[in-house]
């Protein structure tokens, strides 16, 4: 079968964004607060380039992806998330290889970017599996490189599944839905 993202027929899920589950975890509840705290701590680990700390948040069965966005019009105008192609298509092992690389000769991040990950609009719901939570957050990243006074930046929605594992929360699924069809960022040598 041929993937035909061009026509309306394909990719039923292409419009799916945001929160799916309806069993909402109320903002301000204990679970919500701990998860929000975790998202902040995770962002700090990445912004401070403590990659080992970051990897500690990841589950072994991690699925970490970033689908493409495609500009469409008319009846298909909202079906703009293309999951046949991705900017990231990672699992736990491939993430480890990426962080390992960053500790050696990864010139794309040596010298490192000065990054700032703003996490807002966090919405949480329970998954069908007990102890798993669907966490949707908005992400705005500014990235400063070298002595360039103009930063690169990217905005995205992150659709995560966080899993409660002995007292802490770990990341089992992350889908990063970027907001551009053609990225203004030179590369994704940073994690989102």
């Amino acid at each position: 079968m041929t993937v035909n993202y061009a026509t309306a027929a394909i990719d039923k899920t292409s419009v799916m964004r945001g929160l799916v589950s309806t069993q909402r975890v109320p903002l301000g509840s204990e679970v919500y607060n701990r998860l929000l705290e975790t998202l902040y701590d995770e962002a700090a680990a990445l912004d401070e380039r403590r990659f080992d700390d970051w990897v500690a948040y990841l589950e072994q069965d991690l699925v970490y992806t970033a689908p493409l966005r495609l500009t469409r019009n008319g009846p298909n105008k909202d079906r703009d998330v293309v999951r046949t192609m991705k900017h990231f298509d990672e699992n736990y092992a491939s993430i480890l290889m990426r962080t390992g690389r960053l500790s050696k000769s990864a010139w794309a991040e040596d010298p490192p970017s000065r990054t700032r990950r703003f996490v807002t609009n966090v919405r949480i719901a329970q998954c069908d599996t007990a102890g798993e939570y669907e966490v949707v957050s908005y992400l705005y990243v500014e990235r400063s490189r070298f002595d360039n006074p103009d930063n690169e930046s990217i905005t995205a929605e992150r659709r995560d599944v966080w899993r409660r594992v002995d007292g802490a929360y770990k990341l089992a699924v992350r889908e990063i839905i970027v907001d551009q069809s053609t990225l203004g960022m030179s590369n994704f040598a940073i994690f989102l």
Partner: protein, 461 residues
Amino acid sequence: MLHKAGLTLSDGTTLDDLINRDMNEVSLRVMNDKELYELEMERVFARTWLLLGHESEIPKPGDYVMRDMAEDNVIVSRARDGEVHVMLNVCPHRGMKVCTAEAGNAAAHRCIYHGWAFRSDGSFIGAPIEKEQMHGNKHSKDELGLKKARVHLYGGLIFATWSKDLSFEDYLGDAKFYLDQLFCRTDNGLEMLGPPQRFVLPCNWKIPGEQSGSDGFHTLTLHRSLMEGGIMGGTAESIYDTAPGMYGVDISVPQGHTLRCLEAAQTFKMFADISFEGKTTEERLNLLTPPGVTKDMIPQLFKNLSEAQVNQLATIPPQVGGMFPNILIAFIFAPRMDGGASGALSLHTYVPRGPDKVEFINFIFAEKDAPEDVKRDMLQNAIWSTGTSGTIEQDDADTWPQIMRNSRGHMSKTMTLKYQALHGHERPEGWVGGGDLYPGFTKDDTQWAWWSAYYDLMAEA
């Protein structure tokens, strides 16, 4: 036949000042000159063939994708007749885009500004209120269609050109023998796995362009992490001794296309203990199938390629290279530890977006007949290595803009790019394919061939 008028910039600089063919040096200034850029649009991008996509993107009549030929936005569409058409996405009425989506399916494209409508082959249907004849009386309807480019499909790849006379065969030249091994080896050919990754870099198109002329040497240092990762022969410590992947046969043709053919057996340490000596082509192919090709597809190779071509594919296959002016080929072996299907098939185009910006377009493929799980692995491999987040090409994308930054300096722009480690043509015994051949350690010959092709086109008024 055009006559050679040469090229002189308004400050008196000539093409020979910029490209010194005696010394094999190119002035860094070429990367940052508005005037030169305008000439490139005319003499390079409006004259040669350009890669826009693959027909598997638009299987049905009415399917279209929006692409760019340099800075000209075009619609690539499959018409009712099943033919692929490429037409300028500029309304003949007042210049609006006739198509506003990146992909879709439409029997007709109606311009949203005043409603002029066009068929999927670009022909003009009419303007609203037919009786008022709002398309005027100075042009007949058949003069009012969208501007068409010439189209050629090669291995399903969609090429187009504004040139009236350049044949695709002349464009390919002797590169065909090698490219067939990559694009035309299986019964149903390649399939694009999804829309291309697209991102923009702050550098001139020729910075990635000259690298696409088979710059193998930069792999050792810029892509050092490849070795550190332990995939290739050697380690971080030993790479400068073992120089993995640096030995093979480089190829160029006068059209500026280049390829690097590597003995896969030598490239990856996992094969180090396997000898290909005395093995038949078939045995070799079974030991190390070309990326994306499954064992049961091997018979297709024999069917679609000449014996000489299969033989090369089995022994010292083309893996990376480029097609002039702005195509990079990465059909690479990339063994996986987890036993998944190995290798990645990806093509890039570096599309000019002004003198100081380039769009990096990453097309990712699999063999259409491969099973879904193999396609899935191929996709993952390509994303892992190339494009947006590619652990190899991240480093390129971060390096190129720094060269661009240097090209701004008054003193810096007088510095030169040097291509002075030259091997010179030498035909390995028993080699069948054509072109200029550079066996041994990868040097500057192929990149200089890229600049020579650039010179030839730019010198023609």
